[in-house]
């Protein structure tokens, strides 16, 4: 009789421990998943700061280089596309398009010495450079968090819990378009 009681108590304790472990792992996974979402939100904040700077920048450059209409249109379109993109891969794509368009805008601005001396333009350029820096750090932190989360999902023993509760791996923020990695072709016309 006593043996049965002891056995029952031991089983009870083991079950309790297992439950605690499972709960601990589940909570850990939830925490990490939220951290990933939070890290993405951080990137979002910095990207929005970039959007806010762009109209002012375009107006300032327009004041000096009115006829470069195509460049301005590209920037405005790219900005609209980036702001409206849904889903992480599309968002990343759109943001890279915007970076490229801005690069062309600054290349155009190089040809106008008056513009380069304009205080407003310089301040905006600096602010934009600082924002690009912040975006890259936000991206770095996001990728680190994603890696930690994905590791947790895939490593034993937490992968069992992850599978049970259907935790999906997160996407990295990286250059997805192979074309952007190629060297630009120079054409003489």
């Amino acid at each position: 009789m006593r043996f049965a009681m002891v056995a029952l108590i031991i089983v009870g304790v083991v079950v309790l421990l297992l439950i605690l472990i499972v709960v601990g792992m589940y909570n850990g996974l939830v925490g990490l998943r939220n951290a990933v979402r939070d890290a993405w939100a951080q990137i979002d904040v910095q990207l929005k700061r970039r959007y806010d700077l762009i109209p002012n920048l375009v107006e300032t450059v327009k004041g000096y280089a009115k006829h470069e209409r195509e460049v301005f249109e590209n920037v405005t379109k790219a900005r609209a596309a980036a702001a409206g993109a849904t889903g992480i891969p599309e968002r990343i794509q759109a943001e890279q398009g915007l970076t490229a368009a801005l690069g062309r805008l600054f290349a155009v601005a190089e040809a106008y010495p008056d513009l380069k001396a304009n205080q407003n333009f310089l301040a905006l350029q600096e602010e934009l450079a600082a924002t690009e820096n912040r975006i890259s750090f936000a991206r770095q932190f996001y990728n680190d968090t994603v890696m930690t989360y994905n590791n947790k999902i895939q490593m034993v023993p937490s992968n069992i819990i992850a599978g049970m509760f259907r935790f999906q791996p997160a996407t990295f923020f990286e250059v997805t378009d192979a074309a952007q990695r190629e060297a630009p072709k120079v054409s003489f016309q």
Partner: protein, 413 residues
Amino acid sequence: MWEQIRANKRKSALLVVLMAGVLFGLGYLLAEAFIPGAGLAGLLVAFVIWLVLCLISYYAGDGIFMAVAGARKIQKADLPVLFNVVEEMTIASGLKKMPDIYIIDDRSPNAFATGRRPDKAAIAVTAGLLRVCNRDELQGVVAHELAHVKNRDTLLMLMAGVLMGTIVLLADVGLRAMFYGGTGRSRSRSRGGGQAQIVILIIAIALMILAPIIAQLIYFAISRKREYLADASAALYTRYPEGLASALERISGSPDKLQRAGRATASMYIVNPLARSGLRAADLTSTHPPTSERVRILRSMGGASFGDYDAAYRNVGRRSTSILPPSALEGAPAAEQRAAQGPEEKKAQARKVGDLLWRLNNYLFLTCGCGAVLKIPPDFRSPQLKCPRCERVHPTADFKSRPPTGDESQGPR
């Protein structure tokens, strides 16, 4: 990482209890030394002091430290470079809110961080640091300090620093009072009482000598592991350990000594400001690991992740035990190092820092037609000033409170 944070909270609690013990002991003995039988009253007084101290150090500790260090808060417009660097590192470390930024008017390069919670933190850098470091090095130092904030080392150091400072103060005061007044009174009492007085006197003096030793012991309890973990975190956030490494070299190689560092605050700086240069061995009584070792570990890292730092630590010291907690190592993201950023304009940077300090000390600025920028002290009373370079006379009304921007220094329009 969570392990380290929980360990820190436990250590804080233990620390408080330990300090309380020392404080009560001191209170009891001092009271007995002056008025025999008043020991219990002394204990009670010590208890009240302790309670007040705990509350003050928890809620206002930041302010106290900043005042002791002579630090002044600055805004973004004052020094955008510093603000941008701190903001970048806030994002890279995952802190929710950017800490307040303070500047210490001192030639010796150093930095520290305080804050009982990550969202109520502050970071201070000396003017000397801003002058000698380029952007990469500054980023490394800031990353190291923010790592302390994130790992809640600052909470531990805050409690320890303030309480230890008070114990040392009490011990000093007690000693002085004893030599100037107390012993006279004891002679007027009966023989028996006189002897007990002397015993208590001896114990009190012993305690006063012990207090600094206790301070050191408690500072080891705040182990040097903390500094290594902060270095590893900084390498991860910046992806450029060379930045922090060369910053540490500059800081420890600087001949200037930090003016206002005392025993209580020394452990909170990035490099021990009281350390004598030339000491190679890891002194067991030092709060920081030797700088040369920290630099060597950072420079021999293969990548920028925690795993890389741990491997480098084991290589450099030829040890087999890890320095980082297992929770930081398992599942830690792999990270590559990045390339260095462009060189900074040293002169322009030094001038910006100088201008900031003049302005913080309430100096006024005047740009002369010859191009010289004159800095006028706040108590200047004459109605006019002669430029030392071109001898032109300027009326006092022309003095401005902000330094000139690029436009103005091209001469009057």
